[in-house]
C-alpha cells in the first residue's frame, strides 16, 4: 500500500490509538464532552471576569469547589492502589474542621473579625495533626491488626461523626476569624488559594511516587501483598503510611471546607464525600483492583464530578438528582473496568483490524 493518504490515515490511527491508551485520555474526553455540553446549553458557564484583581466565573468556581475533593481523592488513589479503601474520609474532614474551629473559638465580638483563642498556625497544625492521628489509626488497623480496609474504615466512618460532634458539642461552630477564611476564600496573584494547596500537594505526591520507588512499592502491594513482602518491600509500613497520608489529605480538605463556609458542622461536613472521592479516583483511570494508579487522573476525575454537579445546578434540576447520575456513572465505569468487558473488547479489537 503506497497510497500516501492511506499511510497517513494509518499513522494518524496509530497515534490516536497510542494516545487513547494513555491513562488520562478518557477522563479528558469526558471532561471535554461535559464542557462542550455547557458551551452549547449555556455559554455563561465560560465567562471569566476580573474583579478587584481576582478572577471570577463559573470555571474558577468549579475549580475552587473541587479543591477539597481533589485533595481527598489524591490520598484515596494511593489507598486504592494498594487494593484498599478508605470510607472514613468524610468523617475525618468533619473532625479536622471541628478541631480547628474549636481552637479558634466561636466567640463573636461586635465589629471584630480578627479574634482567635489560639495562634492560627497552631489551630491549623492541630486540625491536620488530629487527621493524621486518625489516618494512622486506620493504617494500624489495616496494616498491623489485619482488618479488611472496608471494615476498619467503616468503624471510623461511624464513630468519626460522633467524635466530630463531641468536639463541637453538637453545635455548628461559626468561625469569626478573617485570616482563617483566607484558606478557602482568599486569592493569591488572582487565583484562589486552594489552587496552590492542590498544586503543592499534587507536586509532593507526584515527586514521592514517581521520582522514588515508593509508587512502584505501592503498586506491588496492590498486585500481590505476599509477593511484595517476599521481594523485600516493607508492605506493612508502607500500607500504614498510605492510610496515614490519606488522613492528612482528608484533614487538609476539611480545613478548606470549614474555611470556605466559615463554620464547622460535625454532622454535615464532608457528608457522602467518600463516594465522590471513590468516583473521582475510578473516573481518573485508577483500577479498583489495585496495582496501578494515576494521581493526575484522580484530580481530573474530581474536576469532572464538580463540573457535573455545577452543570446540573445550571440546568435547574434538583441538586439531589446528581446522586442518581453519579451512581449510574459508578456502575458504568466499574463494569467497563471489569475483566469480562475488557476481554470482550480485546476480542473485538483484532477482529476489526482483520476486517480492514
Amino acid at each position: 500500500m503506497s497510497d500516501p493518504t492511506h499511510s497517513l490515515a494509518v499513522a494518524l490511527d496509530a497515534r490516536l490509538r497510542s494516545l487513547s491508551k494513555h491513562r488520562i485520555f478518557w477522563p479528558l474526553v469526558v471532561l471535554a464532552l461535559m464542557l462542550l455540553f455547557n458551551l452549547l446549553t449555556n455559554a455563561r458557564f465560560f465567562s471569566v471576569t476580573v474583579r478587584d484583581g481576582h478572577l471570577y466565573g463559573s470555571l474558577i468556581d468549579v475549580l475552587n469547589r473541587a479543591a477539597p475533593l481533589m485533595i481527598v481523592s489524591m490520598g484515596l488513589t494511593l489507598v486504592i492502589a494498594t487494593k484498599g479503601i478508605d470510607i472514613s474520609v468524610g468523617s475525618v474532614m468533619a473532625i479536622s474542621g471541628a478541631t480547628t474551629a474549636m481552637l479558634i473559638g466561636g466567640k463573636y465580638v461586635m465589629g471584630r473579625d480578627d479574634m482567635t483563642s489560639h495562634p492560627l498556625a497552631l489551630c491549623i497544625l492541630a486540625g491536620v495533626g488530629i487527621a493524621l492521628l486518625f489516618g494512622m489509626w486506620n493504617g494500624f488497623l489495616v496494616a498491623y491488626v489485619g482488618l479488611q480496609p472496608i471494615i476498619a474504615t467503616l468503624i471510623l466512618l461511624v464513630a468519626g461523626r460522633g467524635v466530630a460532634q463531641l468536639i463541637t458539642e453538637g453545635q455548628i461552630v461559626t468561625i469569626y476569624y478573617r485570616p482563617y477564611s483566607f484558606i478557602g476564600n482568599g486569592f493569591l496573584l488572582g487565583l484562589p488559594v486552594s489552587y496552590y494547596i492542590v498544586a503543592a500537594l499534587l507536586t509532593l505526591f507526584l515527586l514521592l511516587t514517581r521520582k522514588t520507588a515508593l509508587g512502584l512499592f505501592i503498586e506491588s502491594i496492590g498486585v500481590n501483598p505476599v509477593a511484595a513482602r517476599f521481594s523485600g518491600v516493607r508492605a506493612r509500613l508502607i500500607l500504614f503510611w498510605v492510610y496515614a497520608m490519606t488522613g492528612v489529605c482528608a484533614g487538609v480538605a476539611g480545613l478548606i471546607v470549614a474555611s470556605n463556609v466559615k463554620s464547622a458542622d460535625g454532622n454535615n461536613a464532608g457528608l457522602d464525600l467518600e463516594l465522590d472521592a471513590i468516583l473521582a479516583v475510578v473516573l481518573g483511570g485508577t483500577s479498583l483492583n489495585g496495582g496501578r494508579f494515576t494521581l493526575a487522573g484522580s484530580v481530573l476525575g474530581a474536576l469532572i464530578i464538580q463540573t457535573l454537579t455545577t452543570t446540573i445546578y445550571f440546568t435547574g434540576v434538583a441538586p439531589e438528582v446528581t446522586l442518581v447520575v453519579k451512581a449510574i456513572v459508578v456502575f458504568v465505569v466499574s463494569i467497563l473496568q471489569s475483566d469480562r468487558v475488557r476481554t470482550l473488547l480485546a476480542a473485538r479489537g483484532p477482529a476489526r483490524e482483520a476486517v480492514r
Binding site: 464513630a159 460522633g162 460532634q165 434538583a318 453519579k326 466499574s334
Partner: protein, 355 residues
C-alpha cells in the same frame, strides 16, 4: 490420648464455635443488668419488648445482611433501600390512593429487584461488593429525591390501623405488627441458613469460593440470590419503617447499613465469611437496642455517643474475631494441612511470628 480426653476436646471445640454467641449473650446480660441496677423502671418486660418494637426494621435488615456477610460480601445499600421503600410507599398511598395490599408486594418486589441488580453486577462483572452496593446506595437515595425532596406523611387509615395495632401478650404488655414480622423473618432466616441447599451453599461460598465451585455448587446463582434476599429483607425492613414512622422521606434510615453490620458482627458472624448464625444477629440487635436504651435512660449523654459506642463495639468485636482467627491459624499450622486455606489469606492476617 484416651477416648475420654478426645471427646472432651471435641466438646470444647464445639463450644469454641459457639463462643462468639456466648460472648454476645453475656454482654447483653451484663448491659441489661447494669441498666436495671442504675435506672428505675429499666427492668421490665415492656422495656425488653420495646427493643423489638423500636428496632424491628433494623433486625430484619440485619438478617438479610447476615447472609451477605456469611457469603463473604457486604451490602451497603440497606439504609437507602429502606428510605426508597418508605418513599415509594408514601407516594403510592398518598398521591395515587393505593392500599397496603397492593403497595407492599410492589415495594418488596422492588427491593428484590435492587438486590438482583447488585448481585448481577457483582457476579458477572466481578465488581467488588462494596463498590456495587455503595453505588446502589446512592442510586436509591437519589431515586427518593426524584420522587420528592420533602417528607411525605401517610394519612391512610388502613396504614394507620396496621401501625397502631397492638397485640396484647399478657401481663399488660403488648407488641406491634413489626415484631411479628421480625419473628417470622427470624424463623425464615434460620430455616434458610441451616436447613436448605441455598443456606449450605452460602456457607460454602463464604468459606472458600473456589472449593465451592469445585464441589459443583451453583456459586453464581447462590451469590446473586444472596443479594436478592438482602434486597428483599431491606424492603421488608422499609415496610416496617413505614409503619413505624408513617411517612416517606429520603433521609430515613441514613447510615442504617452500619448499624446492621454492627448487629451482624456483634452477633458473632465472621466478617471474612463462612461462619455465623442468624440467631446471633438477633442477639446483636438486642445488644444494640440496649445501648440505645441505656443512652436514652441516662438522659445527659447526647445522641452522638451512640455513634461512638457503636463504633467501639464494632471495633472490639472485629478485634475479637482477629484473635479467634489467629488462634485457629496457629492451631492449624501446628496441626494438619488446614494451613493451605490460611496461606491464601492476606499477609496481614498471618501471625507476626510467621516471619
Amino acid at each position: 490420648m484416651t477416648p475420654k480426653v478426645a471427646s472432651l476436646g471435641r466438646t470444647l471445640r464445639f463450644n469454641a464455635r459457639l463462643l462468639p454467641i456466648a460472648v454476645t449473650i453475656g454482654l447483653f446480660l451484663v448491659m441489661f443488668g447494669a441498666g436495671s441496677i442504675s435506672f428505675d423502671n429499666f427492668l421490665s418486660i415492656q422495656v425488653f419488648l420495646n427493643f423489638f418494637i423500636d428496632n424491628a426494621f433494623l433486625g430484619i435488615a440485619a438478617i438479610g445482611m447476615t447472609f451477605v456477610v456469611v457469603s463473604g460480601g457486604i451490602d451497603l445499600s440497606v439504609g437507602s433501600v429502606i428510605a426508597l421503600t418508605t418513599m415509594v410507599s408514601a407516594a403510592l398511598v398518598v398521591h395515587h390512593g393505593w392500599g397496603p395490599a397492593t403497595t407492599i408486594p410492589l415495594v418488596l418486589a422492588m427491593g428484590a429487584a435492587f438486590g438482583l441488580l447488585h448481585g448481577f453486577i457483582i457476579q458477572y462483572f466481578r465488581v467488588q461488593p462494596f463498590i456495587a452496593t455503595l453505588a446502589g446506595q446512592f442510586l436509591a437515595r437519589g431515586l427518593c429525591y426524584l420522587i420528592s425532596v420533602d417528607s411525605i406523611a401517610i394519612q391512610s387509615e388502613r396504614y394507620k390501623a396496621i401501625a397502631l395495632y397492638r397485640i396484647p401478650i399478657g401481663g399488660g404488655n403488648e407488641i406491634t405488627v413489626n415484631v411479628i414480622l421480625l419473628l417470622i423473618m427470624l424463623a425464615v432466616g434460620i430455616y434458610l441458613a441451616h436447613y436448605t441447599r441455598f443456606g449450605r451453599s452460602v456457607y460454602a461460598i463464604g468459606g472458600n469460593e473456589q472449593s465451592a465451585l469445585l464441589m459443583g455448587l451453583s456459586v453464581a446463582r447462590t451469590k446473586i440470590l444472596v443479594y436478592v434476599w438482602s434486597g428483599f429483607c431491606s424492603a421488608l425492613a422499609g415496610v416496617c419503617f413505614t409503619f413505624y414512622m408513617l411517612s416517606g422521606y429520603g433521609l430515613h434510615a441514613k447510615g442504617l447499613e452500619m448499624d446492621a453490620i454492627a448487629c451482624v458482627v456483634v452477633g458473632g458472624t465472621l466478617l471474612t465469611g463462612g461462619l455465623g448464625y442468624v440467631v446471633g444477629t438477633l442477639l446483636g440487635m438486642l445488644v444494640y437496642s440496649t445501648i440505645l436504651s441505656l443512652i436514652t435512660f441516662q438522659g445527659s449523654l447526647n445522641s452522638w455517643w451512640t455513634k461512638i459506642v457503636v463504633g467501639l463495639l464494632l471495633l472490639v468485636f472485629c478485634l475479637l474475631q482477629k484473635v479467634f482467627e489467629r488462634r485457629q491459624g496457629q492451631r492449624s499450622v501446628s496441626g494438619k494441612a488446614r494451613a493451605a486455606s490460611h496461606s491464601a489469606t492476606s499477609l496481614a492476617t498471618r501471625p507476626a511470628t510467621a516471619k
